[in-house]
Protein backbone atom coordinates (compact mmCIF):
# COMPACT_ATOMS: atom_id res chain seq x y z
CA UNK A 1 0.00 0.00 0.00
CA UNK A 2 1.49 3.31 -1.03
CA UNK A 3 1.78 6.35 1.20
CA UNK A 4 -0.88 8.08 -0.90
CA UNK A 5 -3.32 5.23 -0.45
CA UNK A 6 -2.67 5.16 3.29
CA UNK A 7 -3.26 8.90 3.59
CA UNK A 8 -6.50 8.73 1.64
CA UNK A 9 -7.83 5.67 3.40
CA UNK A 10 -7.17 6.96 6.88
CA UNK A 11 -8.50 10.49 6.54
CA UNK A 12 -11.42 9.80 4.26
CA UNK A 13 -11.34 13.31 2.86
CA UNK A 14 -12.03 13.10 -0.88
CA UNK A 15 -9.69 15.92 -1.81
CA UNK A 16 -6.80 14.00 -0.26
CA UNK A 17 -6.94 11.35 -2.97
CA UNK A 18 -3.95 11.56 -5.22
CA UNK A 19 -2.08 14.12 -3.12
CA UNK A 20 -0.89 12.09 -0.13
CA UNK A 21 1.69 13.67 2.17
CA UNK A 22 1.69 17.03 0.40
CA UNK A 23 -1.94 17.63 1.39
CA UNK A 24 -1.17 16.82 5.02
CA UNK A 25 1.81 19.18 5.02
CA UNK A 26 -0.43 21.97 3.71
CA UNK A 27 -3.10 21.06 6.28
CA UNK A 28 -0.47 21.28 9.02
CA UNK A 29 0.28 24.84 7.93
CA UNK A 30 -3.45 25.59 7.98
CA UNK A 31 -3.71 24.20 11.51
CA UNK A 32 -0.86 26.43 12.70
CA UNK A 33 -2.47 29.47 11.08
CA UNK A 34 -5.81 28.66 12.74
CA UNK A 35 -4.04 28.28 16.12
CA UNK A 36 -2.44 31.71 15.67
CA UNK A 37 -5.84 33.25 14.89
CA UNK A 38 -7.31 31.54 17.97
CA UNK A 39 -4.49 32.93 20.13
CA UNK A 40 -5.12 36.47 18.84
CA UNK A 41 -8.87 36.14 19.44
CA UNK A 42 -8.22 34.93 23.02
CA UNK A 43 -5.94 37.92 23.60
CA UNK A 44 -8.69 40.23 22.32
CA UNK A 45 -11.14 38.58 24.72
CA UNK A 46 -8.76 39.14 27.62
CA UNK A 47 -8.36 42.82 26.71
CA UNK A 48 -12.04 43.43 27.49
CA UNK A 49 -11.15 42.79 31.15
CA UNK A 50 -8.99 45.94 31.20
CA UNK A 51 -11.82 48.41 30.75
CA UNK A 52 -9.67 51.42 31.60
CA UNK A 53 -7.77 51.20 28.28
CA UNK A 54 -10.99 51.75 26.32
CA UNK A 55 -12.88 55.04 25.89
CA UNK A 56 -15.90 55.60 28.14
CA UNK A 57 -19.10 53.91 27.03
CA UNK A 58 -17.42 51.24 24.90
CA UNK A 59 -17.81 48.58 27.60
CA UNK A 60 -21.55 48.36 26.93
CA UNK A 61 -20.71 46.58 23.66
CA UNK A 62 -18.31 44.09 25.25
CA UNK A 63 -20.92 41.35 25.69
CA UNK A 64 -21.76 41.38 21.97
CA UNK A 65 -18.09 41.51 20.97
CA UNK A 66 -17.26 38.62 23.30
CA UNK A 67 -20.10 36.49 21.92
CA UNK A 68 -18.94 37.15 18.35
CA UNK A 69 -15.34 36.23 19.27
CA UNK A 70 -16.59 33.10 21.05
CA UNK A 71 -18.67 32.06 18.03
CA UNK A 72 -15.69 32.60 15.70
CA UNK A 73 -13.42 30.46 17.89
CA UNK A 74 -16.11 27.78 18.13
CA UNK A 75 -16.43 27.71 14.33
CA UNK A 76 -12.68 27.60 13.68
CA UNK A 77 -12.09 24.69 16.07
CA UNK A 78 -15.05 22.61 14.89
CA UNK A 79 -14.51 23.33 11.18
CA UNK A 80 -10.74 22.87 10.99
CA UNK A 81 -9.49 20.94 14.03
CA UNK A 82 -12.54 18.65 14.15
CA UNK A 83 -12.48 18.37 10.33
CA UNK A 84 -16.18 19.24 9.88
CA UNK A 85 -15.11 21.42 6.94
CA UNK A 86 -13.86 18.35 5.08
CA UNK A 87 -15.91 15.52 6.58
CA UNK A 88 -19.29 14.15 5.55
CA UNK A 89 -22.13 16.70 5.94
CA UNK A 90 -24.13 14.27 8.08
CA UNK A 91 -21.59 14.72 10.91
CA UNK A 92 -22.10 18.48 10.81
CA UNK A 93 -25.85 17.93 10.99
CA UNK A 94 -25.50 15.55 13.97
CA UNK A 95 -23.39 18.07 15.89
CA UNK A 96 -25.57 21.05 14.93
CA UNK A 97 -28.69 19.17 16.04
CA UNK A 98 -27.18 18.75 19.52
CA UNK A 99 -26.21 22.42 19.69
CA UNK A 100 -29.57 23.72 18.41
CA UNK A 101 -31.56 21.52 20.81
CA UNK A 102 -29.32 22.54 23.74
CA UNK A 103 -29.50 26.27 22.96
CA UNK A 104 -33.25 26.11 22.35
CA UNK A 105 -34.09 24.14 25.49
CA UNK A 106 -31.94 26.26 27.79
CA UNK A 107 -33.05 29.59 26.33
CA UNK A 108 -36.61 28.51 27.10
CA UNK A 109 -35.51 27.46 30.60
CA UNK A 110 -33.77 30.80 31.26
CA UNK A 111 -36.81 32.67 29.98
CA UNK A 112 -39.11 30.58 32.19
CA UNK A 113 -36.99 31.56 35.19
CA UNK A 114 -37.22 35.23 34.19
CA UNK A 115 -33.46 35.38 33.69
CA UNK A 116 -33.57 38.36 31.32
CA UNK A 117 -35.49 40.64 33.71
CA UNK A 118 -33.88 40.73 37.12
CA UNK A 119 -33.85 37.99 39.76
CA UNK A 120 -37.24 36.56 38.77
CA UNK A 121 -38.35 33.24 40.22
CA UNK A 122 -34.95 31.87 41.07
CA UNK A 123 -34.97 28.83 43.32
CA UNK A 124 -33.26 29.22 46.71
Amino acid sequence: MSAETVATATTGHPEHAGHGGAVHESHDRTYVKIACILAVLTFMEMLTYFESIFPDGVERYFAVVLLVLMGTKFYLISAYFMHLRWDKPVLKRVFMTGIVIAVGVYLIMLTAFNFWNGPGVMPH
Binding site: M1, A3, T5, V6, A7, T8, A9, T10, T11, G12, H13, P14, A17, H24, H27, D28, Y31, V32, I34, A35, L38, A39, T42, F43, E45, M46, Y49, F62, A63, L66, L67, L69, M70, K73, F74, I77, S78, Y80, F81, M82, H83, K88, V90, L91, V94, F95, T97, G98, I99, I101, A102, V103, V105, Y106, M109, L110, F115, P119, M122, H124
Partner: protein
Protein backbone atom coordinates in the same frame (compact mmCIF):
# COMPACT_ATOMS: atom_id res chain seq x y z
CA UNK B 1 -6.92 -3.15 -1.56
CA UNK B 2 -9.75 -2.64 -4.04
CA UNK B 3 -12.21 -2.17 -1.20
CA UNK B 4 -9.92 0.33 0.46
CA UNK B 5 -9.55 2.38 -2.69
CA UNK B 6 -13.31 2.34 -3.32
CA UNK B 7 -14.05 3.52 0.20
CA UNK B 8 -11.36 6.19 -0.07
CA UNK B 9 -12.77 7.57 -3.30
CA UNK B 10 -16.10 7.95 -1.54
CA UNK B 11 -14.51 9.81 1.32
CA UNK B 12 -15.42 7.19 3.88
CA UNK B 13 -13.64 5.05 6.44
CA UNK B 14 -15.50 1.88 5.71
CA UNK B 15 -12.60 -0.38 4.92
CA UNK B 16 -10.30 0.36 7.83
CA UNK B 17 -8.56 -2.66 9.20
CA UNK B 18 -9.62 -1.92 12.76
CA UNK B 19 -13.06 -0.57 12.04
CA UNK B 20 -14.70 -3.53 10.43
CA UNK B 21 -17.58 -3.50 8.00
CA UNK B 22 -18.92 -0.96 5.56
CA UNK B 23 -21.78 1.33 6.48
CA UNK B 24 -24.26 2.94 4.11
CA UNK B 25 -23.29 6.40 5.40
CA UNK B 26 -19.63 5.84 4.50
CA UNK B 27 -18.78 6.72 8.11
CA UNK B 28 -17.64 4.13 10.61
CA UNK B 29 -19.96 3.38 13.51
CA UNK B 30 -17.23 4.44 15.95
CA UNK B 31 -16.90 7.90 14.43
CA UNK B 32 -20.65 8.43 14.07
CA UNK B 33 -21.08 7.23 17.66
CA UNK B 34 -18.53 9.76 18.90
CA UNK B 35 -20.29 12.60 17.08
CA UNK B 36 -23.66 11.52 18.53
CA UNK B 37 -22.04 11.43 21.98
CA UNK B 38 -20.62 14.94 21.46
CA UNK B 39 -24.05 16.17 20.34
CA UNK B 40 -25.54 14.84 23.58
CA UNK B 41 -22.70 16.41 25.58
CA UNK B 42 -23.92 19.80 24.30
CA UNK B 43 -27.06 19.21 26.36
CA UNK B 44 -25.07 18.32 29.48
CA UNK B 45 -22.89 21.42 29.35
CA UNK B 46 -25.81 23.58 28.19
CA UNK B 47 -27.66 22.56 31.36
CA UNK B 48 -24.67 23.28 33.60
CA UNK B 49 -23.97 26.67 31.97
CA UNK B 50 -27.57 27.86 32.14
CA UNK B 51 -27.84 26.70 35.77
CA UNK B 52 -24.70 28.70 36.54
CA UNK B 53 -26.18 31.76 34.80
CA UNK B 54 -29.31 31.51 36.95
CA UNK B 55 -27.39 31.13 40.21
CA UNK B 56 -24.74 33.71 39.31
CA UNK B 57 -27.20 36.32 40.52
CA UNK B 58 -26.94 34.84 44.00
CA UNK B 59 -23.37 36.06 44.39
CA UNK B 60 -24.41 38.54 47.07
CA UNK B 61 -25.02 35.66 49.49
CA UNK B 62 -21.25 35.05 49.59
CA UNK B 63 -19.77 36.45 52.84
CA UNK B 64 -17.93 39.68 52.07
CA UNK B 65 -19.78 40.10 48.80
CA UNK B 66 -23.14 41.25 50.20
CA UNK B 67 -23.02 44.51 48.27
CA UNK B 68 -21.24 43.17 45.24
CA UNK B 69 -23.04 43.47 41.95
CA UNK B 70 -22.40 41.04 39.14
CA UNK B 71 -20.67 43.88 37.25
CA UNK B 72 -17.80 43.75 39.75
CA UNK B 73 -17.64 39.97 39.85
CA UNK B 74 -14.66 39.70 37.52
CA UNK B 75 -12.44 41.94 39.60
CA UNK B 76 -13.46 40.42 42.94
CA UNK B 77 -13.41 36.68 42.31
CA UNK B 78 -11.74 35.71 39.06
CA UNK B 79 -8.13 36.10 38.00
CA UNK B 80 -8.84 36.80 34.32
CA UNK B 81 -5.22 37.09 33.06
CA UNK B 82 -4.42 33.73 34.69
CA UNK B 83 -7.52 32.08 33.22
CA UNK B 84 -6.69 33.60 29.82
CA UNK B 85 -3.29 31.89 29.89
CA UNK B 86 -5.04 28.61 30.83
CA UNK B 87 -7.39 29.07 27.87
CA UNK B 88 -4.43 29.68 25.58
CA UNK B 89 -2.76 26.50 26.85
CA UNK B 90 -5.89 24.43 26.12
CA UNK B 91 -6.23 25.97 22.65
CA UNK B 92 -2.63 25.06 21.87
CA UNK B 93 -3.30 21.50 23.03
CA UNK B 94 -5.91 21.29 20.27
CA UNK B 95 -3.22 22.27 17.77
CA UNK B 96 -0.81 19.60 19.02
CA UNK B 97 -3.65 17.06 18.96
CA UNK B 98 -4.53 17.71 15.33
CA UNK B 99 -0.82 17.64 14.40
CA UNK B 100 -0.54 14.22 16.11
CA UNK B 101 -3.42 12.89 13.98
CA UNK B 102 -1.83 14.39 10.88
CA UNK B 103 1.53 12.78 11.68
CA UNK B 104 -0.12 9.40 12.20
CA UNK B 105 -1.83 9.53 8.79
CA UNK B 106 1.70 9.83 7.35
CA UNK B 107 2.75 6.96 9.67
CA UNK B 108 5.32 9.30 11.20
CA UNK B 109 5.41 7.56 14.57
CA UNK B 110 8.09 9.75 16.15
CA UNK B 111 6.28 13.04 15.49
CA UNK B 112 2.93 11.53 16.38
CA UNK B 113 4.24 10.49 19.82
CA UNK B 114 5.89 13.88 20.34
CA UNK B 115 2.67 15.78 19.56
CA UNK B 116 0.64 13.33 21.63
CA UNK B 117 2.89 13.85 24.67
CA UNK B 118 2.76 17.63 24.11
CA UNK B 119 -1.05 17.43 24.15
CA UNK B 120 -1.00 15.45 27.39
CA UNK B 121 1.44 17.94 28.93
CA UNK B 122 -0.66 20.96 27.90
CA UNK B 123 -3.84 19.30 29.15
CA UNK B 124 -2.17 18.51 32.48
CA UNK B 125 -0.96 22.13 32.69
CA UNK B 126 -4.54 23.34 32.19
CA UNK B 127 -5.75 20.97 34.92
CA UNK B 128 -3.01 22.14 37.28
CA UNK B 129 -4.13 25.73 36.64
CA UNK B 130 -7.69 24.76 37.51
CA UNK B 131 -6.58 23.09 40.74
CA UNK B 132 -4.59 26.25 41.61
CA UNK B 133 -7.62 28.44 40.88
CA UNK B 134 -9.92 26.27 43.01
CA UNK B 135 -7.38 26.29 45.86
CA UNK B 136 -7.13 30.10 45.72
CA UNK B 137 -10.93 30.42 45.84
CA UNK B 138 -11.22 28.07 48.81
CA UNK B 139 -8.52 30.02 50.66
CA UNK B 140 -10.60 33.17 50.12
CA UNK B 141 -13.58 31.38 51.66
CA UNK B 142 -15.45 30.41 48.51
CA UNK B 143 -16.00 26.67 48.99
CA UNK B 144 -18.32 24.30 47.14
CA UNK B 145 -21.10 24.75 49.69
CA UNK B 146 -20.48 28.43 50.54
CA UNK B 147 -23.44 29.56 48.48
CA UNK B 148 -25.48 28.56 45.47
CA UNK B 149 -23.24 30.57 43.11
CA UNK B 150 -20.13 28.70 44.21
CA UNK B 151 -21.88 25.32 43.94
CA UNK B 152 -22.91 26.08 40.36
CA UNK B 153 -19.43 27.40 39.51
CA UNK B 154 -17.55 24.40 40.89
CA UNK B 155 -20.00 21.93 39.34
CA UNK B 156 -19.63 23.47 35.87
CA UNK B 157 -15.86 23.96 35.86
CA UNK B 158 -15.34 20.70 37.78
CA UNK B 159 -17.31 18.72 35.19
CA UNK B 160 -15.19 20.31 32.48
CA UNK B 161 -12.01 19.48 34.39
CA UNK B 162 -13.18 15.86 34.73
CA UNK B 163 -13.63 15.74 30.95
CA UNK B 164 -10.07 17.05 30.49
CA UNK B 165 -8.80 14.36 32.88
CA UNK B 166 -10.65 11.63 30.96
CA UNK B 167 -9.17 13.05 27.74
CA UNK B 168 -5.67 12.85 29.19
CA UNK B 169 -6.25 9.21 30.18
CA UNK B 170 -7.48 8.41 26.64
CA UNK B 171 -4.43 10.10 25.10
CA UNK B 172 -2.07 8.24 27.45
CA UNK B 173 -3.76 5.00 26.36
CA UNK B 174 -3.20 5.99 22.72
CA UNK B 175 0.45 6.66 23.50
CA UNK B 176 0.82 3.23 25.12
CA UNK B 177 -0.85 1.60 22.09
CA UNK B 178 1.58 3.36 19.77
CA UNK B 179 4.51 2.03 21.80
CA UNK B 180 3.06 -1.46 21.36
CA UNK B 181 2.87 -0.87 17.61
CA UNK B 182 -0.94 -1.00 17.61
CA UNK B 183 -1.44 2.58 16.38
CA UNK B 184 -0.51 2.79 12.72
CA UNK B 185 -1.60 4.85 9.73
CA UNK B 186 -4.16 2.21 8.72
CA UNK B 187 -6.11 2.79 11.93
CA UNK B 188 -5.46 6.52 12.31
CA UNK B 189 -9.18 7.03 12.74
CA UNK B 190 -8.88 5.67 16.28
CA UNK B 191 -6.68 8.64 17.18
CA UNK B 192 -8.89 10.99 15.16
CA UNK B 193 -11.91 9.92 17.25
CA UNK B 194 -9.95 10.51 20.48
CA UNK B 195 -8.99 13.89 19.00
CA UNK B 196 -12.65 14.77 18.39
CA UNK B 197 -13.32 14.33 22.11
CA UNK B 198 -10.31 16.48 22.97
CA UNK B 199 -11.33 19.28 20.59
CA UNK B 200 -14.87 19.20 22.00
CA UNK B 201 -13.50 19.71 25.51
CA UNK B 202 -11.61 22.71 24.11
CA UNK B 203 -14.72 24.08 22.38
CA UNK B 204 -16.69 23.82 25.63
CA UNK B 205 -13.99 25.81 27.43
CA UNK B 206 -14.21 28.51 24.74
CA UNK B 207 -17.87 28.95 25.74
CA UNK B 208 -17.23 28.70 29.51
CA UNK B 209 -14.39 31.23 29.37
CA UNK B 210 -16.64 33.86 27.80
CA UNK B 211 -19.97 33.13 29.48
CA UNK B 212 -18.66 32.38 32.99
CA UNK B 213 -15.51 34.49 33.27
CA UNK B 214 -15.71 37.44 30.89
CA UNK B 215 -19.30 38.55 30.35
CA UNK B 216 -20.28 40.63 33.37
Amino acid sequence: MAETLTASAEGGHAAHDDHGHETNTGITNEKLGMWLFLGSECLLFGGLISTFLLYKKKLDTFPGFENTTIVRLGRNVYDIPFTSVSSFVLLMSSLTMVLAVSALTRDDQRRMRTWLLATVFLGATFLAGQVYEFTAFVKEGLGFTTNIFSSAFYTLTGFHGAHVLIGIIILMTMFARSLQGKLRARNAETLEIAGLYWHFVDVVWVVIFVVVYLIK
